[in-house]
Point group: C2
Chain length 211, copies 2
């Protein structure tokens, strides 16, 4: 690819957002930054990797104002320190060249930088089926649809709390993104093709050039 | 095109959704059903055209339950009769062959029929600029940004009330659609290309064939 392109992917748990990002990055020949890489990178700034993993994409339990709203009474937490390091890291990653970044409110962190912002979702019934189908035989032992539904809802809730706490936007609301894709309707490869088309479309596009 | 394809386009006022539908239909060589055509067709079922136009995509002022919820105390209104005729009409149109249908909750009316459901949106600042730029010199006379903003919000409110009243989904919420597109980021032609990619992706796609 000739021009630098940054793609951020927000995702509902079990919607295949990570797989979309992985295949997109491979197809475009650019690096993918997912949970694992971002956690590792953040741990290099001084935090213990296990500690970073345990607190990744989480918001403090008690939400007094937004991290970005600058309310004076807000007291910094360990979550904030990890997020602060990760935000620096995401800006650093994006400044270096083309990449795909999964989660971590990267769309908001990079709001002043040109990028394509995507949110991937799917009906919960399909996400339950998808996550159950992806379990190893050991993981599947004793797992039920109800238990998987509970886990998916917990993960979505955690991601929503994290995003809504550390940004001024709303997680999963279309207004926060350039494009929202239902993977139950497009499939994983379909979503990748749609994002590729979006990248071409958004390159230097002005609303008023083609009214 | 070999296979029948139905595309429904919901849209925020001023986002260019109609233009997206028009160009998409032209590119695919299939008919476009927009306000004008749907109004004319509905008027052929017995209603006066001016009356249909005045009541198109509007919900009754007093909302007691949903049209589809079958609440017994709900009393039918002239709006309902027009919507009922239009719903029959939309199902009839869709049964005949490929087409693009703009607005009129067509995505919900055709929920049991295979189709691609898109919602087109843009930040309100851009929609104000776009609508102002499209005015004729006579229309622009005395028009202000504030007046245009008010009109846009009124139109969105009307469409939301109509959709939320006559369907069980939420207007403009990503969950109600396959794809949500921010035209300020894609441009009109970009949105058309994205929908074309979506049509190819959704043809016979199953989430579990490409996990």
């Amino acid at each position: 690819m000739n021009n630098k392109v940054i793609i951020t992917i927000g995702r509902e748990y079990g919607s295949g957002g990570h797989e979309v990002g992985k295949r997109l990055a491979a197809k475009l020949g650019i690096p993918l930054y997912d949970d694992e890489l971002i956690q590792e990178a953040a741990s290099k700034t001084g935090y213990n990797l296990d500690y970073v993993k345990a607190n990744d994409e989480k918001a403090p339990e008690l939400s007094i104002g937004s991290y970005f709203s600058g309310i004076d009474i807000y007291q910094s937490t360990p979550y904030d320190n990890i997020q602060f390091e990760q935000h620096k890291l995401i800006r650093d990653i994006a400044s270096k060249g083309s990449c795909v970044i999964i989660g971590h409110a990267a769309d908001y962190v990079l709001r002043d930088e040109e990028h394509v912002s995507v949110f991937v979702f799917a009906p919960i019934e399909d996400r339950i089926k998808r996550k159950l189908a992806l379990l190893s035989p050991e993981e599947a032992e004793g797992m039920t649809e109800a238990a998987m539904e509970k886990k998916i809802k917990q993960m979505d809730k955690q991601r929503r709390r994290f995003y809504d706490f550390y940004t001024d936007n709303k997680w999963g609301a279309k207004e926060s993104y350039d494009l929202c894709i239902n993977t139950s309707r497009t499939g994983i490869d379909g979503a990748v093709s749609i994002i590729e088309t979006m990248i071409k479309a958004s390159a230097g596009k002005d609303l008023f050039t083609d009214m």
